[in-house]
Amino acid sequence: MTEKIIGVMRIAGFNVFVPVIRLIQGENRDEQLKLLWRTIGIQGVTLGVFLGLWALIAPQIKTNLGQVPGPAQVWEQIQSLSLEYRMETKNRKAFAVTEKARVEQKRAENPGLEVKMRRYSGRPTFLDQIFTSLVTVFTGFLLASLVAIPLGVLCGLNRTLMSALNPLIQVFKPVSPVAWLPIVTMVVSAVYTVPQPWLEKAFIISAITVSLCAIWPSLINTALGVASIDKDYINVARVLKLKFSTKIFKIVLPAALPYIFTGLRISLGVGWMVLIAAELLSQNPGLGKFVWDEFQNGSSQSLARIMVAIFTIGLIGFILDRIMVTLHKWVSFGHGTAGA
């Protein structure tokens, strides 16, 4: 049982907690404590040193918006943001109740009349921005993957296609999202002329910009993974004269899966970085816009709030990466002795 939990922890990349579990189980205490110190202990010390230096140096720097905030001010803003969120939620609920009452009353007064519910017009909270950003990044990532994986498989199987597409890939790969943004904005505005309330233009622009930058790592890695499949597996497919679809789903995709997931992991990381930049530049809703709004706002709390956003962005990026690493390890099982 213990070994099972530890196995799961290892796949999930939480090696740090393995000694904790062993300690609870009462396995050789001294060794586990030593291991614990080497991981959690040292990480704690690093964090402490970082916070100390930050608290020491930040107040020394004066800006137009007051001094650079230290850890204490940032912590204050975390609390203030969470308070704002609770207030907003309360307001929204209160509005919903009064609005419902208003509509019902109107309908009672004048049964024939069509009465519309008004939408709550409060500004989005920090949590709303996080949610918007996550939805956008996953949409963009999904779009990118839907193109990158099939195209990568075809490229990996067909050298001619690979060399045909290679120049395009090499040229577009290093282009920054900032360069794509104006074009994407103009094209989307031109094509998407009748905006629907459930699909905002800003959302489409951000998602497409993310896709344009996230597509390349997945595409390249998928092609590489498919091209480097063990020749024996391909020979098996040839001897058995497998149908194209059987070959793809039973041999090519499983064999290339570890490579594909390495690509997807890089793509998601790139997508997340690109998204924040795109939101910031184009005023599209999300964490990037939060940062820009606070910068424009220019109050004494703005810098501390931006720092909260920075830590949030970093933490979410880290969690996304961990998820991809876990998936990667999970699909890589059974590949350990693949060559034999």
């Binding site: 063990d230 024996d232 597996y233 020979n235 098996v236 040839r238 001897v239 058995l240 004269k241 497998l242 059987t246 039973k250 041999i251 499983p254 064999a255 099982f333 059974g334 590949h335 350990g336 002795t337 693949a338 060559g339 034999a340």
Partner: protein, 279 residues
């Protein structure tokens, strides 16, 4: 000479191009006739082109001059009528042993009922001694077990021709001896025409009806053919008691040693003779 061969190599040649662009004739004028139901081994030094001959028969490598005919049909592509047991087991590690065999069976019997196909797979997996491990992932099997699955996969296709490319080359000698017996046991009931490449003299004598000795490349071809007249079914211990066994052995080793001398004269000795001297 077999008048009406089931498998016929009509003086085939394979010419590679070396990195300088010069043509390199690996195999030249390879002529061999194999009767239906015969088990023939090809033996020779490493790199003599024996595996190339096998891969051409499988349709995985192109014949440059001449043709290989199986049941009067020219071989021009790979197909499941020629099952290959590769040196590395080449199982798909993410599939179970059963699914690995089923992959081929589904292809060959697309119209059979699912139960029938499963039973066929289980029958062969059972025969190679894998009865209780059929649901294990191939990645979790030992090399010997994997090769058992490889043998089951080949027989389950009910091929016209069984091609074995140094099938036990990667195994330790105990496992190898076991698997030779397993292979022979399954083969005895099916009598599928078989062509095996090996550099193990004892393996060739024990399994084959005839042992074809290939000269060393370049321009490798059939150097000598040794018929092995032990009755079947054979058992290792019984075979080894016979004096003719040691005469066969002597014959093969002398051929290989001579080839080695010739190779040495050409200054081409590398890792040859690895199988010839171990017993």
């Amino acid at each position: 000479m077999i008048e009406k061969p089931y498998l016929h190599f009509s003086g085939i040649s394979k010419i590679f191009t070396d990195p300088k662009g010069e043509p390199y004739p690996a195999v030249e004028g390879f002529e061999l006739r194999v009767a239906k139901g015969e088990f023939v081994s090809i033996i020779g030094h490493s790199g003599c082109g024996k595996s190339t001959v096998l891969m051409m028969t499988a349709g995985l490598s192109e014949v440059v001059i001449g043709g290989i005919f199986l049941d009067d049909k020219l071989i021009d592509e790979a197909g499941p009528d020629r099952a290959v047991v590769f040196q590395s087991p080449s199982l798909l590690p993410w599939l179970s042993a059963l699914d690995n065999v089923l992959l081929g069976v589904n292809r060959v019997y697309p119209h059979a009922a699912k139960e029938t196909r499963l039973d066929l797979c289980k029958y062969y997996l059972n025969k190679v001694g894998l009865g209780k491990d059929i649901h294990k992932k191939a990645a979790d099997l030992s090399n010997g077990m994997k090769q058992r699955v490889g043998i089951a996969r080949a027989f389950a296709l009910k091929p016209k021709l069984l091609l074995l490319d140094e099938p036990f080359g990667m195994l330790d000698s105990l496992t190898r001896a076991d698997l030779q017996e397993v292979l022979l046991e399954v083969w005895n009931t099916e009598k599928i025409t078989a062509l095996m490449v090996t550099h193990d003299v004892d393996e060739a004598i024990f399994l084959s009806d005839r042992v074809v000795m290939m000269t060393s490349g370049p321009s490798a071809c059939v150097g000598d053919i040794l018929p092995i007249s032990f009755a079947r079914p054979r058992h290792k211990a019984q075979v080894m008691e016979q004096t003719s066994y040691y005469q066969y052995r002597e014959h093969l080793i002398r051929f290989l040693e001579d080839g080695k001398d010739k190779k040495a004269a050409h200054g081409m000795v590398s890792s040859i003779g690895d199988g010839a001297s171990h017993f």
